[in-house]
Symmetry: D3
């Protein structure tokens, strides 16, 4: 059984490498490399997998899962600059892929602590673009 919690946050970011100049960043990353930033309303779907606990009918309590996501992910990202202000994205390219990996790493241990396994982090950047990360071994 898989169960999914949706959360939302919005943030500013920029795709660029500090070892490249603005021109090179523009060639590779296009308008996403704008030095004065841009931003998105991100939608995050966290899917966990586990057995149904017969005493509650739950894989886990979604309220608890939501609190864990808020504490370790959303509160760190919401209304923030991903490049400058998010500890788990420090020194990383602020792509949607890397952000999904970072979110996975923030959550994996805490989900295990709830007796379930993190299955997928789906991160929607715009209505046209999203990524899904299933962990390092898949």
């Amino acid at each position: 059984m898989r169960i999914t919690r949706r959360e939302t946050f919005n943030a500013a970011h920029r795709l660029f490498r500090p070892d490249w100049d603005d021109q090179k960043n523009l060639e590779v990353f296009g308008k996403c490399s704008n030095p004065k930033w841009h931003g998105h309303n991100y939608t995050l779907y966290v899917t966990v997998e586990g057995d149904v606990d017969p005493s509650t009918g739950f894989v886990l309590n979604l309220k608890t899962l939501s609190q864990i996501i808020d504490k370790h992910v959303t509160d760190k990202l919401d209304h923030r600059n991903i490049n400058l202000e998010v500890d788990f994205m420090k020194d990383k390219l602020a792509s949607t892929e890397n952000l999904a990996i970072g979110i996975w790493e923030q959550l994996e241990g805490h989900v295990l602590g709830l007796g379930a396994r993190l299955y997928c982090v789906k991160l929607i950047e715009t209505e046209n673009n999203y990524v899904e990360y299933y962990g390092p071994t898949k």
Copy 2:
């Protein structure tokens, strides 16, 4: 090839165990245990898997699938009280997880009768919460 049919229904329910008192139910299930019920607009996605029939271009006829879902699932749930009025949920905790399992059991044989395999029952309870059930052996 997988093909999916969406159906909707709305229903009342309550999360509680009759062997617990209201206080204990409230601790575990929160406001979902309200003794006077609450309810949802549920959205159900039924995904079946099979080969494409070269004579029709179909895995199966979605109209037939829709009729089967209506007869065995939606008609039993729509505008009903899941705890009190749904035969296949009798004596079960009315969690989204258990409801998805119940819907799977209602549909599995009928989908096989159409020459396809039931692959996934996805049940959306609110815009923030949903479950996916892939059957007892996965």
Copy 3:
């Protein structure tokens, strides 16, 4: 300028008149009169109208509006039985129309207190049905 805040809640209800028997209620209200209740995920859009305050660029602070809606509307309705547990719906038919009027009456004075005018209460009951109420004089 009009500004709108979306809120959500879910609740159980039943359409029926206590002075009619179940048969008569069924004829008029159909399956919405189910004596054992059903329920919905309601989506509420509260639109207020006013001038833009040049010192803030706001008609009003949406965070304050959201807190007022939570206190006077959502907290009273969420995970509740509209017929049995909501003070401002007591002795009223629990139709979407009457619920929208009730929500208007809950909010109108508080919005005035923020220096704006309540313009519209839009209440979506299902993806196919919604009502809009613009107040008693329109």
Copy 4:
């Protein structure tokens, strides 16, 4: 007859007044005042009003309207910093209200040039917040 075109863009912004310090900005604007910016996926609905031209069946050609919105609004805002890079928002508080007024002013004359009247600029900042502006005289 009213006809509406939807366009999307994403941008960074910050709510703050340069004549207030960060503490005062934080009190009034909350986390929206973050000095390192945040951002949104904005959805813009431009509604124009006019008679149906019997020779085409159109109020106006939506392709032309879309090109005008792109040139005068979306191209100036998309992947930009609203506070720093958008000419028509210079020296204004970057609230959704002021952005909607700015978009109206960008478009009003051009829509008249197409033989129709600009009726409404609706700007959705998040799934929970949006504004509608109907022009200075309404």
Copy 5:
């Protein structure tokens, strides 16, 4: 009080004038003039206005409104060719504007017969384009 019913249908159509050749049609209508047709999933919102009947809490019974829309609009349009098969669109340009006017004319009398007034026909052709028609006198 205004109450709205959503219905959906899908249909083929073509924008063209028979008194123009294909080249002239292409110049004016672009790829929408493709002689071999194209099509859409249309979403229709029918809004009616009236007083709340104190004996039912309804402006009108939405089930009845839905049946009227099905009989006079949806059944005539669904899975049809708007140019060739829809009686109320005969000899008209199959634009969204004209289709909305045609739907209004199909429904206006029947809504009056229910004791309410037709207020708006909103017709969504794509996620980016829609029209709203409020009747001939507005």
Copy 6:
């Protein structure tokens, strides 16, 4: 890591076999066999799978993927008649299943050329019906 691009197109089609008469086609395909065509707004989700390139933070550049989808899929389908005008659907039943397979075959090689693997083609025909194709070997 999987990354997904959404694209949209609209088209006319008809479900029928030329070796069956209209009556037989009607029995099997229902109103989808209407000889004068009908149509849809299709939504296409193309998911590709690959490793994250450490020099860009990308699996691949979504702008490039979008251009490939436009050239090989969307431009051939948008505002077209699937039965009559689309080279890769020639002599095939125009079902959603076959269209998804055709789109897969159009894209598979080009995605490999970008250093990634095509993982899934999801094609939504209506809000109630969609198919997912994972390639010939799964």
